[in-house]
Subunit: 283 residues, 4 copies
């Protein structure tokens, strides 16, 4: 038999967001875990190099008086502070600045960026487009690298990029809904629009991921990365789900690069096939 060499899988370029190179295209949250040990294991299993932390949470301690930051290896993870819990542009800007101060003290590379969330209401947790745009402009002017959570509306996405967002992060579906990518058409238009003439502009799917295949689907559409939290933290077995998400991200990225076959009603041989080496029907 001819010797088998290692298969030459195409090399991928790393994702760069706001000047930072990410070792993994999966960004994960740190909330909603049973305890910090579970969080720690899940982060490890996810393969993420960037983890997002709600600035409002960070100073808080758990029942045993322990701070989350004791459980985050800041040599290993870049912290992406987020403005979860903010319902106005003003509040989000204030919280973003507070996050910068805290990370500055930690000397973490994440100190000048922020995942911006300006939420509309506590019921749906949908983003407020007007407040988001306003806060983006203000934070960009203040030197932040803004990773901007938004709906899947391509026009708002374009306005946020135009306002200087380092990355636009459209929602697949509402936060915590577990519905995955409800409107692939919208995500495709966002990708087409934001990458037009600027193919490396990073678009990261954020929110709505319920299960591994949601991540794969998002990456197959051409997203540059995925950010998620609840899908891991509230799974029955968060650590195993974190590992699933890691593989799902890889699967989707590779699949996107590899170029899938077209969909057909059925696959009739388009050429004669009897007695030919190249094709056995049903093979």
């Amino acid at each position: 038999m001819s010797s088998t060499t290692t298969a030459p899988v195409t090399e991928d370029q790393p994702l760069i967001v706001g000047g930072k190179t990410l070792a993994s295209r999966l960004i994960v949250g740190t909330g909603k875990y049973k305890d910090y040990e579970q969080m720690q294991h899940a982060l490890d299993a996810s393969g993420a190099s960037v983890v997002t932390v709600a600035v409002r949470r960070e100073r808080l301690v758990d029942a045993e008086g322990r701070s989350m930051l004791e459980f985050l290896d800041t040599d290993r993870y870049t912290i992406l502070p987020n403005t979860a819990g903010c319902f106005t542009a003003e509040d989000a800007v204030r919280v973003a600045k507070l996050g910068r101060e805290i990370l500055d003290q930690l000397d973490n590379p994440g100190k000048d960026w922020v995942k911006l969330e300006v939420l509309n209401d506590k019921k749906t947790l949908l983003p407020d487009p007007v407040g988001t745009l306003e806060a983006t402009k203000e934070l960009v002017a203040d030197g932040f690298k803004v990773l901007c959570y938004t709906s899947d509306d391509p026009v708002m996405a374009a306005k946020l990029k135009e306002a200087g967002a380092a990355s636009v992060m459209p929602a697949g579906s509402p936060i915590g809904s577990g519905q995955g990518v409800l409107n692939p058409n919208a995500i495709t238009i966002i990708l087409e629009t934001l990458k037009d003439g600027d193919p490396d502009y990073p678009v990261i799917l954020d929110a709505g991921v319920g299960t591994a295949s949601d991540v794969t689907v998002a990456m197959e559409l051409g997203a540059d990365g995925v950010l998620l939290n609840t899908g891991i933290a509230h799974a029955s077995d968060p650590i195993t789900m974190a590992s699933a998400m890691r593989h799902a991200l890889e699967a989707g990225r590779l699949s996107y690069k590899a170029g899938r076959i077209p969909k057909k009603l059925y696959a009739t041989a388009s050429s004669p096939w009897d007695g030919v080496i190249s094709y056995i029907p049903g093979e």
Copy 2:
């Protein structure tokens, strides 16, 4: 910081089909590649331990007079002979026996099993349920371990199991169509029915996979494995796609074991959240 230990991802049991333990839950075909080197690399990248070969093809040689078997490391791969190209039960039985003879000479562990395909017509390549049932009975009586390709009709699936099939392999969609799992409802009923009182009975999704997320979806439904060929062999970059499929399989299996979160219209906090450590809305 507290020390990070390796995350305890839940151990999985290997898939056992017809008494054989499979190191990977992904079974891949060997047809439709540009050349044998490409096939060899794709098999390697897929992580498969079982590869299926059309008996009708195996004796054939390529333009340079080389046989496929020269490029299949039979120490590494268990060969699963298949009856692709057979349109009657009689023909399929004959081809299955021929495959057994060939593998017997190779002393490959795959010698007593067969992936049974009895196709209805060259246009749609859909399986013939009547011929498939007939051939299954005959091959089982002759001592074969039959892995049985069939439609997603749960009743035919049950009849094939009852006839002694070692595994039932429902189609996600027509062979080569790239449509993925068109009817998850049907696959779910098949899984529920065939595993009722017999949870280890192996159900392997076969046919229709177009891209990585199709594999993940199938595994998340609870399939024990996936068999595919065209989705890899006809991708723009088959080797990279093979790697994608490997991750997709792993993602779907882990996700299934981990237990996904439920789907909701939106995720309202069901408990008070202001000033509480456990929840920042939008986190």
Copy 3:
């Protein structure tokens, strides 16, 4: 203003099944209603000209000793006897013959036809393909016009047509599931296959309709008619739902005939549009 004339909607040809011309393409069941009056009103509202009756039910009487047939205007409705409740070919054939005798006494035009159901089990109510094929052959040989309930497997559908079925009636989804057409790809292949060279061969979607849009979708795929029962009988307001189904059938048929616009990611004007009468963007 120019005078408005009545709009020239294209005339449709009536559906002919087994030599009988149907005034409506909607066939409805008679089971599961709260009482016979409700059934009577729902049948009226549905616009159906053919109603199907379980032969096993017909001689039974309600709590007040009234027979269903007292509430079916047999001058208005053609009765299509069905073999609901039969789990073997033998039983279905026996029941079909019993139905013929009863309708013969009523002198109803439905006396020589039968909606054949050979169910596999009481749990899923899925059809038994093998028993269905066997019963079809037997009933055709005995002079019946057989309208044959089957799964959405195109190969079984083709075998049933070949066996002489007057109409093949694929399931959109399991009986009573309310899931609509789960696999439009399969229904499309059935239509393409059964109408190949025989465009008037009637294919009627049977089973699974949950709501009006399911009927419209089935007709837009090219089905010649739809048969349903639970979707009306178990709606909160069966009579209003019957009216909905009537309109849904009409909508789907007209839409199919009218030829829909193609789907696109978005509709860019393909021609210059400024200052031109023919196009205002967004109009």
Copy 4:
């Protein structure tokens, strides 16, 4: 036989928008037709009582020098002027006022309302949320009844209602895309949000309808009406499609009122059924 009385289909209340009662819940456009005669017939077949006209078009004449208004029976139809072709709030406001002047001269009841479109770009024709909100405020202040075209973002929809829009008109999918309702989840949240404590507030699906079932689906979700143009005007047979849309609207509305059955994997009888009058399995 007991006498059949006419079935008591539940009476529906008419849709009221901005103080005007609409005889039909279907609103249709007047653009993109081959000629005015075809438009006239299609309007008639659609059953619409309100038709929308691009103000920018209205003064223009066709190749034979005829104005569209000669072909619109203004005694029969209420004209809803729209601002198609406007890409800024300023332009849309100007065009809306121009429309009011023109309709004032015609003494048409539509003179104080407007279908507001502020589009973002000529390529996707997606609405500009910021410009739309701005124009809505201005037009409301000027006494207009504003029917506001917007994306399916529930937050923007709520802001537009709050700004005083007489009706919010979310897009099912991009104008002219023919994709139907791409995100039912979003439309459901819009309906829930805008009708919370205000059940009669009118939400009308606008844009994206490709075929009849899209209309039925939108109404089944609970929309109060549907506005469409391309789906009719560019169908192969626009007049027949207009009739399809009329039935589809009616089907969806009735179905919504009637209350559909739930979806299940399969419908097992939940009660004993042998020998009971009320249930024959498979009926």
